[in-house]
Amino acid sequence: MSDEVVLQTRALSKVYRDFWGRQKVRALKALDLEVRRGEVFGLLGPNGSGKTTTMKLVLGLLFPTEGEAVVFGRPASDVSKNERIGYLPEESYLYRFLNAEETLDFYGRLFDMPASTRAERVDALIKQVGLDKARKRPLQEYSKGMTRRIGLAQALINDPELILLDEPTSGLDPIGTREMKDMIIKLKEQGKTVVMCSHLLADVQDVCDRIAILHQGELKELGRVDELLTVADVTQVKGRNLTPECQNEIREVIARHHGELLSMDNPTTTLEELFLDIVRDSEARPGRRAASVAAANASDSPPSS
């Protein structure tokens, strides 16, 4: 992970309006984010919290009401940024009358790549997402998971540097989910930047370097996953071969560094706990950034190792 900022939003806000310009929903409120090259960034939040809206704003599918999104140093409305972006939408919006090969070939043609490279990539991606057997079948016959897979292949057709995945694991079977996680990690290893949103917190915890938690369009939490999940004011000690006396006098023992100290660190909570806490807190006290809340609350609940 380098310091190069790939994606940046500055006070990004979105108000959905109806035809007459009347305000319907404030979907996003002054969001400031920075995503750096090579990291996997997770956008979390309950349904309707503005994750998809954020992605659409970054892609230029929506125009911001205020603020701006900058991708590769260019405004989101600049089409040429799309050369280096891959996008998997919430649902796979693909042409149902095309088959897998035709679909990938079509999207491939929209990029500047030679025909031979395109053919290779199409073939490799179909195999990679496990649709080799169904490559000639039109998408309207596909199951949800299969559609998801071809949608993912479509997002990777240009070997993008920045990949936006909107709920990548939705509709996938456990194996598919596993493969998806492996693939995200592989992409990270290749130095790509991934921005994803998901409701499967365990998966996010596994793959994401940093996360942002949104609630009702507001940023509630932002930071490295490992830091966020650390319960700062709790210390966990693991030891072996400690006599009962020693255990009784554990504080002194540790103070004097007796015995074999196997580990001594802060316990971590799960992302699930963190998430629920933040959402509960935000609902109780709306409009506040839940900065220290997480840690404070985490200490109340029993830490799990």
Partner: protein
């Protein structure tokens, strides 16, 4: 009639236009400028309303500026990919069903089209070509109007616009793809309709041996006269030479060749059913009843403005001057055609057509030929084969080409009306010299090309409109655009107040108050308000009228039906017009799509 308006030479049309009018190119640029300005203003107003004055201005500026550069980045590869997608989509939407419909139409046509007409080819051609036109316009409309809106509805557009696709490429790709689909359909329909017409009218006759009588001149057998049997409700008279070869005489617009084979006669299929006459036009001037030269004749009221009349039995005459003829020509004939509009102030002798005269004159030496009289039948094409050997009014022999055509190839044709109190009306295109005929098949192709041009314009309009609104609305909008296009002249006349009855609102008032279009409305505040609103409305109508494609004048069906060659000049003009619409609409569609929030 086809020849109501003359086709201008291409470059005259492009640069200068009709006398007093505007060339197509300056007109295009003006319209583009006007539309651009209006779009800029509307865009700015909308943006300013939504985001405030300065941000709106900034947005407008960036849209135009960035848009301009984006337009330059249009890549053929992506356009083609999107075009192929459009083709696949059209196929999935079962566009081929249209062909089935077409064949059914042809099958039914077989029932009610009759060959029992003076010119059956005209009926057949105008039917099949008109059917093709409407079907193709319908297909273009449905294909183009629903495509993009369905992409928006199914959100497939999200995956497309998040690729490096410029908005213009989506528009042009659609237009191109549907044009290709339409072209294939039109080609099949064109071929089918050609075969249909030829096969429907194809027939042969048997020479009725019993009717043949010997033609003897000076006791020598010169040939035979006779007639054929009756096929397709007509029979021809037959003229054969001494060897028994000859010709079935012109009837129903066609002839047959006849060859003697042994004892039998072999009659060919119909010849000349489809024609492609090539007229050569002259320049028309008039002489009034007192013998003075004039640019126009007299008006007999509300007639075509550009046609004017000469009064009979006076010195009044219509004179066409032709140029580019060959003084040294070896031809035996000069083929002249004349269309007369007859205006009677009294019945004359009932049942007898009016007579007029034609004279040829050398514009330099003033040598004239003897008057040749003809019977004028209203609106009919009279064709004259004027032989080379003529006489002057004193019965001295003169040669048409040597004596009447000047060295630089000019010739005057003078037409007069002989009957007092009656009038002949002429326009410049009403008299022409018939050049060697064009190939009817090429002509048929050209007419289909004119259908193609209309189809492409419809597709371009449909795609452009559909960047902004939903499918049904886009279709409705495009359909009304086509409809207005068919009545463009009327629409413009209403807009410029040349139609009786005032503007739309005034007409409505007249309708409700049951006043006819000629009476003045009683002056008053109400009427002034109505007229003021109409002025604004008419201004708006005028603006819309400038954008409307004139589908009626784009149609070349009448050329084929009436048996005229479609001049290449016209074909190029149509194609240029088509290109102009595609370019203009693509740019418009590009900006519309670009400023549209895709994921709303």
């Amino acid at each position: 009639m086809v020849l109501e308006r003359q086709v201008l030479p291409y470059f005259t049309w492009l640069i200068q236009g009709e006398p007093g009018g505007l060339g197509a190119l300056p007109r295009f640029l003006l319209v583009m400028f006007g539309v651009g300005l209006a779009a800029l203003l509307i865009g700015f107003l909308v943006a300013a309303l939504r985001y405030g004055f300065s941000r709106g201005g900034d947005l407008t500026y960036r849209t135009v500026y960035g848009g301009f550069f984006e337009l330059l980045q249009t890549k053929w590869r992506r356009v083609w990919a999107l075009a192929v997608l459009a083709i696949k989509e059209a196929r999935r939407r079962r566009v081929l069903v249209a062909l089935g419909v077409y064949f059914v139409i042809l099958l039914f046509a077989q029932w009610f089209l009759s060959t029992d007409y003076p010119e059956p080819a005209r009926l057949y051609l105008s039917f099949v070509l008109t059917a093709t036109t409407y079907l193709m316009l319908g297909i273009g409309l449905v294909l183009s109007a629903f495509s993009l809106p369905s992409d928006f509805k199914t959100k497939t557009i999200y995956t497309v616009v998040t690729k490096p696709v410029r908005a213009g490429e989506i528009v042009i790709g659609r237009i191109l793809g549907f044009t290709i689909v339409g072209t294939v359909l039109l080609a099949i329909m064109g071929l089918a309709s050609y075969v249909f017409v030829v096969r429907s009218l194809d027939h042969t006759h048997r020479v009725d041996a019993e009717t043949l009588t010997n033609v003897m001149i000076g006791g020598k057998l010169q040939g035979y006269d006779g007639s054929t049997d009756k096929v397709m409700s007509h029979r021809h008279s037959v003229e054969l030479d001494a060897e028994g070869n000859g010709l079935a005489v012109l009837d129903r617009g066609h002839t047959h060749n006849i060859d003697r084979v042994g004892e039998d006669y072999k009659v060919s299929g119909p010849i000349g059913l489809m024609k492609a006459r090539v007229p050569k036009y002259g320049k028309l001037t008039f002489i009034d009843r007192n013998g003075a030269k004039k640019d126009s004749g007299i008006s007999v009221g509300f007639e075509w403005k550009y046609r004017s009349f000469i009064d009979g039995n006076t010195q009044a005459a219509a004179i066409w001057q032709f140029d580019g003829l060959d003084h040294d020509s070896d031809d035996e004939f000069l083929n002249l055609a004349l269309i007369v509009r007859v205006f009677r102030t009294h019945k004359g002798v009932v049942g007898r057509p009016l007579t007029g005269t034609i004279q040829l004159r050398n514009p330099e030496t003033g040598v004239v030929s003897a008057e040749r009289s003809f019977s004028a039948r209203d609106q009919q094409i009279d064709e004259f084969e004027i032989p080379r050997a003529l006489t002057d009014p004193k019965e001295e022999p003169i040669d048409l080409f040597e004596d009447l055509v000047t060295k630089d190839g000019r010739l005057d044709v003078i037409v007069q009306c002989l009957e007092g109190g009656q009038y002949f009306g002429f326009a410049q295109a009403d008299c022409y010299i018939r050049l060697p005929e064009g190939d009817p098949r090429t002509n048929f192709f050209k007419v289909n090309l004119s259908i193609w041009v209309q189809m492409v314009i419809v597709i371009a309009i449909g795609v452009t409109v559909s960047t902004l609104v939903s499918g049904p609305v886009a279709m409705l909008f495009t359909a009304s655009f086509i409809l207005l296009g068919f009545f463009r002249q009327f629409f413009l006349d209403v807009a410029t107040g040349q139609e009786y009855g005032g503007g739309p609102l005034e007409s409505l008032v007249r309708l409700v108050t049951q006043k006819n279009v000629m009476v003045e409305l009683d002056p008053g505040v109400g009427v002034s308000i109505v007229k003021a609103i109409d002025d604004v409305f008419q201004g708006f109508m005028w603006c819309v009228g400038q954008l409307l494609p004139d589908f009626r004048s784009l149609s070349a069906v009448a050329f084929a039906a009436d048996g005229y060659n479609v001049p290449w000049d016209r074909v190029w003009q149509d194609l240029t017009l088509c290109g102009a619409y595609v370019v203009g609409l693509s740019i418009l569609g590009f900006f519309l799509l670009r400023t549209r929030e895709v994921a709303r």
